[in-house]
């Protein structure tokens, strides 16, 4: 592992120096790969997307602003876009008819949180199934928020969506999940 600091890595990559590029890959490849591999089931595809992420980062290093985000967050931002594009090409996004009913469900934030925190084994298993039915961007949002435990402001930077609309989207996704669980229960 290289001893270069983040600033030094960025500077070296800006100058097109190979050791900077190698250091960047060595330090962040696992993080980026893990993020991609969670959404892209094929390891070879995930590997290729990880490589694409770094190559794009080398090309666009001039646009990186250390005041806005850390280098790892910036790389995740690139990885997020590439992964979404890849998934879109693979399977078109389908809006379920049930999606349009999401806003018709009248449930408070607290109730929703209680419904999604029952601790019941059956509910957790149902949630694992429901997760697969979600659109890619919503599933990625949940992964970043709940699994990677990132703050909303950081996710906002990663996804390129402003924090407030992002918070709404998160709420909407949780509500959708609740709706789907309810439908499963009814069945």
């Amino acid at each position: 592992m290289s001893d270069l600091t983040e600033t030094e890595i960025v500077e070296a990559v800006r100058r097109g120096r190979r050791e900077g590029q190698t250091a960047m890959v060595g330090r962040y490849a696992q993080l980026v790969f893990a993020m991609i591999a969670r959404q892209v089931p094929d390891t070879l595809d995930a590997e290729e997307l990880t490589q694409d992420t770094f190559l794009r980062a080398f090309d666009h290093i001039d646009s990186y602003d250390a005041h806005k985000a850390s280098l790892s967050t910036w790389l995740c931002r690139i990885a997020y876009r590439l992964t979404l594009d890849f998934l879109k090409r693979r399977r078109p996004v389908i809006v379920s008819i049930e999606d349009s009913k999401v806003w018709q469900t009248d449930i408070s934030d607290e109730q929703l949180e209680a419904e999604l925190s029952t601790g019941r084994e059956e509910r957790i298993e149902q949630l694992q199934e429901v997760m697969d039915d979600l659109p890619d961007d919503e599933r990625m949002l949940l992964t970043l928020y709940y699994f990677e435990d990132r703050p909303l402001t950081e996710i906002a930077y990663t996804t390129g969506i402003e924090a407030k609309p992002l918070a709404n989207r998160l709420y909407r996704t949780r509500k959708k999940i609740f709706q789907k669980l309810k439908m499963k229960d009814e069945k």
């Binding site: 190979r18 890959v25 696992q30 893990a34 590997e47 770094f54 601790g119 997760m131 949940l142 699994f147």
Partner: protein, 313 residues
Amino acid sequence: MDKRYNDTDLREALHRKYADTPQLPADFMTKMEQRMDTKPVAKTRRLWAWLSAAACILLIIGIGLHVQFEGASHPIAQSGTPNQSIGHVQSFNRARPVAQSDTSNQSKVLPNFLIGQGQSVNRVRPIHQPGRPNDPIEACQPINRDAPIEKQVMTDSDPDLHYAAADLTKDTIPYQDPARVDDYIFQLAEHHQVKQGQLTCSLPVDSSVVSSVYVFPDKDEINLFSRLLQVACWYDTKTSGYHLNFSQQQFFFELKDMRRHLQYRWIAERINGRILFYSTHAPLGIKVSSACYQDYRNELMYQNSFNSKTKKL
């Protein structure tokens, strides 16, 4: 904003789901270095960027000159020739709203008790032809809501009121028949020789739920998405059950017909050079699943991949 939701079930489900996230392959760095070696230098990218910018500018100038030339040499065409551009909306003669008496409507409307007995609504083709499939596309024009409704219709001179407003009532908005969307699509499909397929979207099978599907080629000459948007814009946003959602990839439109107690849904999606268009109407309150659409799409995609594989063999 930074409120953290606990949602422990959700967290646990995600942790279980991603417990086995694969590790970075051991030879990743070697492969990466190979790609770094073969990657073209950034200068090539810059050259392409400059070339693209120059091409765009030339294209804009070209279009500008063309439009100018057309305007100078064909002044009449601007007011009468059908044009696919949404920008030329105001220049066309628009269909006028026609006030229909209740008696004229009776032949087309099935009584509610029939719907209640599980019969599908067999619509008679409308007397007033909805916009022909080869008509130019018109952009949305807001309906003048400030003017009194009766005046809007009776004067028969409001160019913004579409023929979809087919009846006079004392309601807050004029009645607009959602079935006209289906009529329009039916004609469009006929014009482009696209066959209509039937789907079963209710389990158990309920004959009052009528679903059909069309597979349109995704061609500029049909321009289906723009046409669908145009159709959606016929309807006042205050129409019962109005729900419109669209993107470059998808179109979703929903309406309710409170007179006939029917709910309508139309969904279009772009897939591999084609547009799948689904249409469903069902009595109000009946749940309609979208699984039939997904099944149809999967079946279609499976057939395609099978056919292409067979061709290769």
